[in-house]
């Protein structure tokens, strides 16, 4: 079946099966910043924003994403670059596999809560697994980024 998806403010046409998940559809279309991890909503690396809210694309049927604004990290490149510099400063960046989903979640948090405290950051990022850093440096970087942005 044919569907239209609004990805990073561009309307794109897709030919899909009803059971196709958004992760597969977007990766097949070249959006490689979406990573495949657990494939069952546990790890967070496949996160996209749906109307500015983070969701796991591995378990979202592509059909359900119609009529919504989908944002991948390519759509928030400037903000992701800024956050990346804070990650670098704090030594919070190792393999980078989880970085796109982290950036999207931090961006969504910034939109939702202009005055996010450390505890809010921790709660918001539950489910974004990172197997390199142990999270402390990331939380420091995100706190500084959000603080400077506000």
């Amino acid at each position: 079946m044919k569907i239209k998806l609004n990805i990073n403010q561009q309307i794109k046409n897709f030919e899909i099966e009803p059971g196709d998940f958004l992760l597969d559809v977007l990766r097949d279309a070249g959006y490689m910043s979406l990573r495949r991890g657990c494939d069952n909503t546990s790890c967070g690396v496949c996160t996209v924003l749906l109307d500015n809210r983070p969701v796991p694309s591995c378990s979202l049927l592509a059909l359900k994403a119609q009529n919504h604004q989908i944002t991948t990290v390519e759509g928030i490149q400037e903000e992701a670059d800024k956050l990346g510099r804070y990650f670098g400063d704090e030594g919070a960046d190792q393999c980078g596999y989880c970085n796109p989903s982290m950036a999207l979640c931090v961006y969504a948090l910034k939109l939702e809560n202009k005055d996010a405290k450390e505890e809010d950051i921790k709660k918001y990022l539950v489910g974004n697994l990172c197997r390199c850093t142990g999270y402390v440096a990331q939380h420091k970087a995100i706190k500084r980024y959000l603080g400077d942005a506000s």
Binding site: E17, G19, S42, V55, S59, K123, N128
Partner: protein, 263 residues
Amino acid sequence: MNIKTYTAVDSFDEAYRLLKKSKKNKILGGGAWLKLSIKEVDHLISLEKLSLDQIQVNKDYLEIGALASLRDIEINKDILSLDGGILSQAISNIMGITIRNLATIGGSVMGRFSFSDILPALMVMDVELVFHHHKIVDLKTFLSSRDYLLDVLKYIRIKKQDRRSFFKKVSNTPLDFSIINMAITKGDRFNIAIGSQPGLVMLLEETMGFLNKQVKITDQIIEEACDIAIKESNLGNNIRASKAYRETLVRTYLKRGIKQVTS
């Protein structure tokens, strides 16, 4: 995943008619557990055009649309004021925000998942389910029969009350399913539910009856209530925990819960 046909229906009648046509026809909730629970669907029915994602506040109750996301419910100010915010608290313990943005209350209720953290909280609140065909059904009746699974859930109604409450989820890791979960509310009477036993949630009727007839809740009474709770519940073994461990958890958290709602 094999889905043959997908329809976003225009009416509840259309959804109900399609659902009744075949056991392989399913209604789509948030879809969070779709991949893990269903391999093949003949006709997937979406209710997205029926405005079921809203939370309405009425004089005596809140009405939550079946497609309201768990995250919307978790942060809703009116829901935070119901029974000490027990429902918000139960939801906030479920995995991460990404999954709570995807999962819906309707999917959580109709899925009747034994690991559900939401069902114990709803069980100790005053909850009615509004179906297209069966109309209004209380939650306990819904959970005791499979008759309602081929109906279209429209709303979850929660009576406005602000009783003291307690909720506890125990899991091996924060992202894992519960080993046990427990919810208590206390106004004039105790309401106590446990889930992930590992079976489906249940109200501890005998324990509630015992506590409700007491004039004063003493440490001795609480110990006796724990004995009754362990006896009447269906605690068992599964991959996550043993029956003996679950008994210890029930005793520990029932004590804390009763003390919290009576202090």
